[in-house]
């Protein structure tokens, strides 16, 4: 018996997927096409009168030392946020999965950070990390000048890494918890009977079995930290102090909207898009080999 599902009417099938295709076209292909056009011409702010300049915009982008600094910063940011949020979420999920008292409440609370808008998170973290009050105020009292994200670059970067990591941990938590719950209980219990401790069970059984989910989350987190970090930066540090938190996506905003140099911003957008594609392909080719499915 032929078990393949086929849809007899191609027109109705087309009608079903048309809305989604239309959305993808309007919100992805059309703007990307426009960005591509702007990146090979010089686009004046008010439009009209594009001049074709070939790859000059890209050359200008690559010649700018600030651009390369922002690339390095973005890579550091992506690696740190992904490590922090996936790691943290894994720990939370492993322990929430154990079904201890109150785990229902924890599940709800741990997801909450993701539901908060980045602007609210950013503002809260700005106040938490302010050097004059709170925990860091006390620290600064003991060691004056120790903590000041408005002056010290790496501290500002840590601030946004922690903010973004905290936020994404909620998202990762739900996926990891669901993955853990699909691990057959029998295996874990058998290990317990064999004398494995809680930590050994987590390390040798549960984590390897949820590797596909972890891999998926790493891909999503890396992409997200390149693209979605704008809100966090704009509310907390605005790219400062002295460009210390100017990630690639924020530089695109500054060059495009503040400086009205649409062509430079478009060129950077195209480069960012290609870079994320390459990173994702790299992850699939090299990391997926180590993931055991099923």
């Amino acid at each position: 018996m032929d078990k393949r599902a086929t849809f007899p009417n191609p027109w109705i099938a087309g009608a079903f997927i048309a809305p989604q295709l239309l959305l993808i076209f309007i919100f992805f292909y059309w703007p990307t096409g426009q960005a591509l056009y702007w990146s090979i011409t010089l686009e004046p702010p008010f439009g009209g009168g594009n001049q074709f300049v070939g790859l000059d915009n890209f050359r200008a982008v690559f010649a700018d030392p600030h651009y390369w600094e922002s690339v390095v910063r973005s890579l550091i940011f992506a690696a740190s946020v992904t490590g922090l949020s996936v790691g943290f979420a894994t720990v939370l999920a492993l322990f929430a999965d154990r079904g201890l008292k109150g785990h229902q409440i924890y599940k709800f609370l741990y997801f909450l950070p993701y539901a908060m808008p980045a602007a609210a998170v950013g503002l809260s973290f700005r106040f938490i990390f302010t050097p004059e009050a709170g925990i860091f105020g006390a620290l600064n009292h003991l060691y004056p000048g120790l903590w000041d994200p408005s002056r010290i670059g790496w501290q500002a970067l840590s601030e946004i890494i922690m903010g973004q990591g905290w936020k994404m941990a909620g998202y990762n938590f739900i996926f990891l918890l669901a993955a853990l719950q699909s691990v057959p209980r029998a295996i874990v219990e058998a290990a317990a009977l064999d004398g494995a401790t809680i930590l050994q069970r987590m390390r040798y059984i549960q984590i390897p079995l949820i590797m596909p989910t972890i891999f998926f989350l790493v891909v999503i987190n890396v992409t997200d930290s390149f693209v979605d970090s704008f809100g966090m930066i704009d509310v907390t540090t605005k790219g400062g102090p002295s460009r210390a938190t100017e990630l690639m996506v924020y530089k695109i905003f500054l060059d495009g909207f503040e400086a009205k140099d649409y062509s430079l911003a478009a060129a950077q957008s195209i480069i960012l898009m290609l870079m994320i594609m390459v990173l994702t392909i790299f992850q699939f080719r090299h990391m997926e080999r180590k993931v055991h499915y099923g």
Partner: protein, 446 residues
């Protein structure tokens, strides 16, 4: 069977739909402004007053949440053919709009709509900023200001001084004495380019760029890294190093206006627009005054230049909307409803000489609330405007300001040598200018 009920039911429903009242005949047009906060409220109130003062036109005023957002949104709206009729645009956007082909020059608009404006009545420092090389204004000056030095009178009295320092050397000495007297923040420093780079250059008659700050052509090059502007930055750095000055910005927790108003810092440079804020928010123990910005002893002092915004008329709107906009322009350029209203409700200065004269005659500057603002006008008129003290015509100036600001920040925070920072800022700025020149290849500034 059901048909018996459906038809009458439908009829009843259609009849029950209320007949739309004939829409009021008011002709509507859009005015987008950039200010937020208290000043934004003042502008919104002015719009409301205009609407109530006559029945033919209605202006739809929308705050855009910031000067740069107002510019971005207007550009985006223009591309979508939904631009507003009038827009309040900041000084840094002047070049973009002049070259855009999307505006109706103010002189032309006034002529076509019979708006009687005495162009010569505007202060030269103001009209020169918004005018073409031929001296024709392309926008209507609206809320303009200049920078002043704010000082704490009690602190100066404590070190035995009655008047504000007259030059930078004296200011530095005063700061030294203040520090010795126990004040740990004699000066609130921030990274604002308008005050620290531009105003200083204007009053010292030092060019920011070649070609008379860009007025003479798009091929201007930045020159602020050679000369007195660097000396001022080095001086500011020495103030920080000696402990006379402290960095006060929103990012460090308290911005300079707050720091001055609550008495933590004794000197600051900021816009006269903040005069109203300090008046309203200063601590009772703080007795303060304003003075013109000082220069180095060996340089003469010319006029300071303006900041703030002007109102531009966008092209491509209907004749009705332009008629309404013309009425609004008449309203905001009139003395009572325009000049006086802005002067009373904000810290901005009257933009016309006759406006200032009338306000003085009415005793405006004797009122304790407003006293001291006339210093701003004196600063604007300190000397006849020179080719490099009238302002600048540099493309993508917002980007140049941002490049300068991150370098200045690095220098002040000790991460870079001051001269190297200024050189890098000039290099980045020149790249921006060259790209801008190429984008508008062949076009000339009007």
């Amino acid at each position: 069977m059901l048909n018996k009920f459906i038809a009458p039911a439908l009829l009843a429903i259609t009849a029950a739909v209320p007949v739309q009242a004939v829409a009021a005949d008011k002709i509507k047009f859009d005015f987008w402004y950039g200010n937020t906060g208290a000043i934004g409220d003042v502008i919104a109130a002015q719009c409301k007053k205009f609407n109530e003062s006559q029945a033919k036109y209605e202006t739809n005023c929308t705050g855009q949440g910031g000067y740069d957002k107002a510019e971005q949104n207007t550009i985006a709206a223009y591309r979508a053919k939904q631009q507003p009729t009038l827009v309040q645009l900041y000084d840094a956007g002047t070049v973009n709009f002049m070259l855009s082909g999307a505006v109706v020059p103010a002189v032309k608009f006034a002529k076509d709509n019979n708006i009687a404006i005495d162009w010569a009545d505007y202060y030269p420092a103001i009209s020169n900023f918004f005018a073409t090389s031929k001296g024709e204004l392309w926008s209507f000056p609206y809320n303009n200001s200049t920078a002043l030095m704010y000082y704490n009178k009690d602190a100066l009295a404590k070190i035995g001084k009655a008047a504000a320092p007259a030059n930078l050397e004296e200011l530095t000495d005063d700061m030294k004495l203040l520090k010795a007297a126990g004040y740990d923040c004699a000066y609130a420093l921030d990274f604002d380019p308008w005050v620290n780079l531009e105003q200083f250059s204007y009053i010292s008659n030092v060019p920011l760029a070649s070609k008379n700050n860009g007025y003479d052509g798009l091929d201007a090059e930045l020159t602020f890294n050679k000369g007195k502007a660097v000396d001022f930055a080095k001086l500011a750095k020495s103030w920080l190093d000696n402990g006379y000055a402290k960095v006060m910005t929103a990012q460090t927790g308290k911005d300079k206006v707050k720091a001055f108003a609550d008495g933590s810092c004794q000197f600051m440079y900021t816009s006269v627009g903040d005069h109203a804020t300090v008046t309203a928010t200063h601590a009772d123990s703080v007795h303060w005054g304003v003075a013109p910005l000082p220069v180095f002893k060996d340089s003469g002092r010319v006029n300071s230049a303006i900041g703030g915004a002007s109102v531009w008329v966008m092209a491509g709107k209907s004749a009705d909307e332009y008629a309404g906009a013309a009425e609004f322009i008449k309203y905001i350029t009139a003395y009572e409803t325009g000049v006086k209203y802005i002067a009373q409700n904000t810290g901005y200065i009257p933009v016309t000489k006759s406006g200032f004269k009338k306000l003085s005659e009415e005793g405006f500057y004797k009122d304790a609330k407003f006293a001291g603002r006339e210093v701003a006008l004196q600063s604007l008129e300190a000397a006849p405007v020179t080719p490099v003290s009238r302002g600048q015509r540099l493309g993508n100036y917002t980007a140049i300001r941002a490049a300068w600001q991150s370098e200045f920040q690095a220098a002040m925070l000790g991460q870079k040598d001051v001269q190297a920072a200024y050189d890098d800022a000039a290099k980045a700025g020149n790249d921006i200018l060259r790209r801008y020149e190429q984008t508008f290849k062949g076009q000339k500034l009007p």
